[in-house]
């Protein structure tokens, strides 16, 4: 028989002879396996040699391999895990990526029958399939190049379709296999240092599992593992990579302009810093950021498809639990929380409200103070930045926040004390931040305007605990300016630190983690996934334009001091070295109260501001100089 002889030449010769029936082959293979148990390994070794042969197979060798695999499928009950170690190792060492579809099908059939025949092989089969989520590492460069071409994409679909349908077939025969699969997939998840195409492909497979037939069983832990990985990548991106900006500017000035199109630049003097080039500069060479970007694109697309198939709410519940465990407690995560933002944008009624109510609960009745402050920061940032949140909902949530703060300060009779009442101060800051963004939209609806007026915001702000002095000065300043302009509240005029971003007191209540300057949903800086977030995001420029567009004429006189916050130094330079000098000059400038010649800028350059990205500044701001 053909198999008995050495594989290379004689196989070709014998394949021309009579074709062998399936039962003859079965019989031969079984004999080979049984003989190997006894100790006679000749035929057995030839069998192993055929399986190992994988380089550049000619069609006859492919046919031989396929017949061997099919015969083995029938002889599975004769296999022994110890005596046939080398054969099993050869089988599990095969990678579907190296072969054509015929061999893939035969191999997959063999795996299914192995898994069903005995419990010992189930884990091994599942592990081999999970390893096939990615191309074999030995020829990784070849496959990375191949995957950029259409035939590479075809190959990927062939392999992955077979892998996932095999999971399904094994689950039909061995009902408990999804539990083992879940554990194996989690354990084998690539770490954050793996090359980008591999980690992206693995996560893509995890998401396919989540939306597949076994999704109900394994989906939850897949999502949790993906969120964990996103946070790991997020934490790897250092803050100094992102910004070198001027800490003395106001929080609201530091925001990137929302340029409508990249070609719409109003001419500017000095360097032109478009958003695109800033992103490129900060993230161009940063591998971790690119990985995170691609993974976020995958996640957003998956959420979109979940929403299309109506599963978004269940998926969101899992995400929300994961958020509370990992994202909320991570130290200032930068981008991972946008997963929640996007999910809420797909379904504001259910998911958005669930998100907000969870955050309010954590703030009002949570246990750890840091998490409560973090939760209210998320809440404030979300309510301000989400375009899809209705003003009435914002007003209702604000009311609950205000009521909590009001009850709190009624029980206190002490004086200003940032550390002791940090939760209260963070709540006040959140209220002011939300109102900075949403005042206009709330006031424009008469019912909400009266609701706003009935809230006890003035009482809170006038309380001896003096939140206006403790909270972040730039926010306070903006809030007061808006309050005065819209004639909503009457608040004291006297306060210090115009134009300063932060003060000693705000640092004190923020603590070591600087939760006073934590605005989680600040403008998004990752390039590829930006297109998902942009349509739903409120930029400060959009809001501010709506406030100031009626008041261009009044700008010069009473706004001179406040202007210092808005205007920008003419010679912003990208260079780090110069930036320090600029900050110094700028700080000197601010000490004077002569009005700057900002009318040209104010009226004419509303759209053309050249700005640095607004994000949370590094916590070591004064020391960084």
């Amino acid at each position: 028989m053909g198999i008995e002889l050495a594989p290379q030449q004689t196989v070709l010769h014998d394949m021309d002879e009579l074709s062998f029936t399936d039962s003859e082959l079965d019989y031969h293979v079984r004999n080979a396996l049984k003989a190997a148990v006894q100790g006679d390994c000749d035929s057995y070794n030839q069998l192993v040699a055929v399986i190992h042969h994988k380089e550049r197979l000619v069609p006859e060798e492919v046919a031989l391999l396929m017949t061997c695999l099919k015969a083995l499928t029938g002889a599975v009950s004769c296999m022994h895990i110890v005596h046939h170690r080398s054969l099993l190792a050869a089988i599990f060492g095969m990678s579907l990526w190296n072969y054509g579809t015929d061999v893939m099908d035969a191999l997959v059939e063999l795996l299914i029958s192995l898994a069903a025949s005995s419990g010992q092989y189930v884990d091994l089969c599942l592990e081999m399939l999970v390893t096939n989520f990615m191309p074999p590492s030995s020829s990784s460069t070849y496959f990375i190049e191949l995957l950029k071409q259409p035939r590479g994409i075809d190959k990927k679909h062939q392999v992955l379709d077979r892998v996932h349908s095999t999971f399904q077939d094994i689950a039909n025969l061995v009902p408990l296999s999804p539990l083992r699969l879940e554990k194996i997939v989690r354990d084998r998840m690539p770490n954050i240092y793996t090359k980008e195409p591999f980690i992206v492909m693995y996560v893509e497979n995890m998401l396919t599992l989540e939306s597949g037939a076994a999704g109900k069983l394994v989906g939850g832990s897949m999502l949790v593992a993906i969120m964990d990985r996103l946070i790991d990548l997020d934490v790897e991106i250092a803050w100094d990579d992102i910004l070198q900006d001027d800490f003395s500017k106001g929080i609201f000035d530091m925001e990137l302009e929302d340029l409508e199109g990249f070609s719409d630049h109003v001419q500017q003097d000095g360097d032109e810093l478009t958003r695109e080039s800033l992103m490129q500069r900060f993230f161009g060479g940063n591998l971790v950021a690119e990985k995170l970007d691609s993974l976020l694109v995958l996640t957003f697309e998956h959420l979109e498809s979940c929403s299309g198939s109506g599963r978004l709410i269940q998926v969101f519940e899992t995400l929300l639990q994961s958020f509370q465990k990992t994202v909320l407690t991570a130290y200032k995560s930068k981008f991972a929380q946008f997963v929640m933002f996007y999910a809420c944008s797909l379904d504001p009624e259910n998911c958005g409200k669930m998100f907000v109510s969870t955050l309010v609960n954590i703030f009002v009745s949570g246990v750890s103070p840091a998490w409560r402050m973090s939760a209210v920061a998320y809440l404030a940032s979300y309510l301000s930045r989400a375009k899809f949140v209705a003003p009435s909902f914002v007003a209702a949530t604000l009311e609950s926040l205000v009521n909590w703060c009001f009850d709190y300060c009624n029980k206190q009779d002490g004086d200003i004390n940032p550390r002791a009442h940090k939760i209260f101060y963070s709540g006040c800051q959140a209220i002011m931040y939300v109102l900075c963004f949403r005042m206009r939209s709330i006031i424009s609806v008469p019912r909400l305007r009266s609701q706003l007026l009935l809230m006890r915001i003035e009482d809170i702000l006038r309380h001896p605990l003096k939140p206006l002095e403790v909270c972040l000065p730039s926010i306070v300043e903006e809030f007061l300016r808006l309050a005065k302009r819209n004639r909503i509240f009457s608040v004291p005029d006297t306060f210090v630190d115009y134009g300063m971003l932060e003060s000693e007191l705000s640092r004190a209540f923020g603590g070591i983690e600087r939760l006073d300057t934590f605005f989680p949903f600040d403008p998004y800086l990752l390039r590829k996934s930006d297109r998902f977030i942009r349509p739903n995001f409120v930029y400060w420029s959009m809001v501010r334009n709506s406030y100031y567009e009626d008041d261009e004429d009044e700008s010069a006189s009473d706004e001179d001091i406040a202007e210092a916050g808005i205007s920008i130094a003419d010679d912003i330079s990208v260079d780090e070295g110069d930036a320090h000098l600029d900050e110094f000059d700028y700080a000197l400038d601010k000490m004077s109260i002569t009005p700057r010649d900002s009318s040209t800028k104010f009226g004419g350059r509303i759209q053309g501001f050249v700005q640095m990205p607004s994000k949370i500044r590094p916590s070591t701001s004064p020391e960084s100089l």
């Binding site: 029938g74 599975v76 029958s113 039909n172 408990l176």
Partner: protein
């Protein structure tokens, strides 16, 4: 079905102090972690539980985390197949070399071809694979049939059973239930040897005929004897 048993267990469940407010939920969560795993203490796979907490008092363990030990009695449904037990399950796949079935929806069973008795022959009918008995054409095993088989071995880690269809009272459960009641054990043995049965009937008939002849001869002889006495 053999292999299922109900037992009462006295358990102590240790709960983290943070669960002190929702003890019942915590107990259920702890017990649910036992499901579908083989436990040596209970000698079986826990399929269902019914806890009954008797008292409100719990012992507090000394240590870094003061765990609460709650005593309870629970009724447990256990599945513990032992060799030579008779089990039933639904067939999910048939191939020439094996029959695969799923027991109680979670445990997979495989019967290799050397454990299927020669009575069953593998056929492909209308594109579907089926095992048909040679003696009774109606006795078929195909995908979706409930089969009854004997346990050969049980892999406790993945809850995998290897079974055998060698014994006579194994096969398609519905056919066995319908047809086995009409036959006693001995006749079943006879019924499996139809040639012997026919031979026995023939001998019975001939013996009866012979006996009839003997009866006629006897009557004639006795009547002749009666006649000569009368003379």
């Amino acid at each position: 079905m053999e292999g299922l048993k109900e037992s009462e267990a006295n358990l102590v469940v240790y709960l983290h102090p943070s669960m002190a407010k929702c003890v019942n939920d915590a107990i259920l969560r702890e017990l649910s972690s036992l499901l579908f795993t083989y436990s040596e203490t209970f000698d079986g796979v826990v399929l269902a539980y019914d806890p009954n907490v008797r008292s409100n008092l719990a012992k507090i363990l000394p240590g870094i985390h003061p765990y609460l030990g709650v005593r309870l009695k629970a009724k447990l449904l256990l599945f513990s197949p032992k060799p030579n037990m008779l089990l039933e399950g639904e067939v999910v796949k048939i191939s020439r070399q094996s029959i695969h079935a799923v027991i109680l929806g979670f445990s997979s069973a495989v019967i290799a071809d050397e454990d299927i008795r020669d009575e069953f022959k593998y056929k492909v009918k209308h594109g579907k694979e089926v095992f048909v008995s040679r003696h009774h054409k109606k006795h078929k095993i195909k995908v979706g049939t409930m089969i009854r088989f004997l346990v050969k071995s049980f892999d406790e880690e993945i809850l995998h059973i290897s079974g055998s269809l060698v014994a006579v009272h194994t096969g398609c459960a519905r056919w066995l239930d319908a047809n086995l009641e009409e036959w006693s054990q001995a006749d079943r043995a006879n019924a499996q040897q139809p040639k012997l049965f026919v031979g026995m009937i023939l001998i019975l008939i001939f013996a009866e005929a012979l006996a009839l002849y003997g009866l006629i001869v006897g009557i004639i002889l006795s009547s002749r004897a009666g006649q000569s006495r009368a003379d």
